[in-house]
Symmetry: C2
Subunit: 177 residues, 2 copies
Amino acid sequence: MKDFLELAAARQSCRNFADRPVEHDKLVKCVEAARLAPSACNSQPWSFVVVEDPLVVPEVAKTSQVLGINEYVSGARAFIVLLEEHAVLMPRLRAFLDSQYFAKGDLGGALLSLCLEAESLGLGTCILGLYDREKLSALLNIPLETRFAGLVAVGYPADPKTREKTRKPLESLIRFV
Amino acid sequence: MKDFLELAAARQSCRNFADRPVEHDKLVKCVEAARLAPSACNSQPWSFVVVEDPLVVPEVAKTSQVLGINEYVSGARAFIVLLEEHAVLMPRLRAFLDSQYFAKGDLGGALLSLCLEAESLGLGTCILGLYDREKLSALLNIPLETRFAGLVAVGYPADPKTREKTRKPLESLIRFV
């Protein structure tokens, strides 16, 4: 495998998926990487729905085609839904903090871990932030009160070339003390 | 470098730091890995303060020794503070979503990327969730209204052995459709 910085630089949003199915075992490995992510008090406030049924995948794609964005996800061959679960924090913290105080950040880490494992397996991913939660809940039998933490489109990239990353310059973001 | 799943499994909270300084360039690489993390609309809602001054590092450690936890961080040789910055989302989303709607999750990804790069460089990290924000702001000249997204203790691990990870079983977290 590449050096970690190379892997981080290579991972990019895939918006053009190849017409090639994704192996079940690779999807499981992506979730395994997310499962290993750190979380506050090891609370692991997550669960996952892996969508690979070829009849359901296009329906999930449709739920994310809102506001005229995400049209390209119709090419995705699988989706992984990341759900927020209840976090149990250590007793000393429970008196001061809401149980979900750290959950959003922890889920963000799990989501990135999932996408980095996908990249290392040659898969493309796109993290979708907007989707019709009501329709997605109904489609996947997810209780309406469950919070979504992310929807990831997965497939082999049609063009695996790494685009140049657009990022703010390092020196504008960092200060030394 | 290791396979990504191996790297994810090897990264663990370091609570016993060696008496060995951390190279400046390695700290910069950790921030570089965070800078490359994905974010909603590429908003990059983050900035970083790297603390390596041997007179200031112990003072930062003290700010996190609250509620009788985090005593061990007195051994850390550096800290990296992750700050939440304003996120600019694409115009179509601005009408519906608060600018910081995705920021917490994005910052969680940046934080994990930082820790994974540290691991790949042989460094130990511990993500600290609790610290005296007022004292930390004053110590590092951070405006009080700036939101902290994480404080990471950094150093070489005194014992680099990987402990067995305690995680909920994969089959209890995953569902296939």
